[in-house]
């Protein structure tokens, strides 16, 4: 069972590592929705936050974060950006970060291919949570 779990874990890690950048982004966003969904949060679309600067054409520059989450029981709002492996905030996202007014500011929810592999392994052998659960703070 342990060997099977390790095999499954390695396969998941390898497959996710070889996904395109776009696919990794989609996967990361989906994982975020599942994780926060389990805590009672529902996404109300992307969050638009001004950076405070202007575009080359003089318009207000905006950053987009993946999720504007609302807790379905308490109404608490969160702004969450999904990131996969080591990907960083874009320049606009970094510039707008200080203008996020939801509790906790901008929350970066990072999914790693290793973490997914660990979760797959744990699910296969029935043991505890993987490393990613330790990495991300709870809201």
């Amino acid at each position: 069972m342990g060997a099977g779990g390790k095999f499954v874990g390695n396969v998941v890690e390898d497959v996710t590592n070889n996904l395109s950048r776009s696919a990794k982004g989609t996967l990361g966003e989906a994982i975020t929705e599942i994780k926060y969904g389990a805590q009672g949060y529902k996404s109300a679309g992307k969050a638009e936050v001004l950076t405070g600067g202007r575009t080359a054409t003089g318009k207000p520059a905006k950053a987009i974060y993946d999720h504007k989450m609302t807790n379905v029981f308490t109404g608490k709002k969160l702004t969450v950006e999904s990131k996969f492996n080591g990907s960083k905030l874009t320049p606009n996202q970094a510039a707008a970060q200080s203008n996020v007014t939801t509790p906790g500011g901008l929350i970066i929810d990072r999914t790693t291919s290793q973490g997914l592999g660990n979760s797959a392994k744990a699910a296969t052998v029935g043991t505890g949570a993987g490393i990613d659960a330790q990495r991300n703070k709870k809201p």
Binding site: K42, A44, G45, K46, E48, L50, G52, R54, T55, T57, G58, K59, P60, A61, K62, I64, T70, N71, V72, F73, T74, G75, N92, N99, T101
Partner: protein
Amino acid sequence: MGMFYRVSEKQLLADRNSLIKEVGIPSLLKNGFIKSPFLGIWFGEYDNNTKGYSYELCRLTNDKILEVIDFSALKDEPWIKVNLNIYQLEPAPNQIEDLAGKDGLNFHLPPNSLTKMRLRSDDYKGPPLFYMLFLPEYKIGNYYTKSGYEAEIKKLKKLIKSDMENIDHFVKRWYEIHGNPIKTTWEGNPI
């Protein structure tokens, strides 16, 4: 080929943008709103960075209170977001055209953005679970056929038209939630 009818993300964005232009904005214009007079605002140009469209409109009440509404529709999501914020400008302008060319960026930054109310979301009372399940939102819902998609568009169009024609209801709700408007200069600097 999939079993169910699917609209491309490009078409979904185009249709939501059309709704804003066809019913959202005209209904607000009938209620005394105009295209925002502030410098360099978004009003229907495609934003390559956000991959969407946004619009800003304003109204100056008889009490010289500034009401600002912005619409946005982004790619890869089914929402139309409509936000309302209200400010008390000092000194009070005689007419909204007095604000032409002023830099209104600060109106959308903290602390002013703290009182921004998203319509059909922040204004609902009670646990969000209730309104998320049962009350309308500005969103294209699930569909499985072409006629189902068209029905969703028609439903959303009717909702936006009705709400923008009745915008004073949402203004009243804003006051119930936020109390008195923030006092700011004509450039949105809090006083």
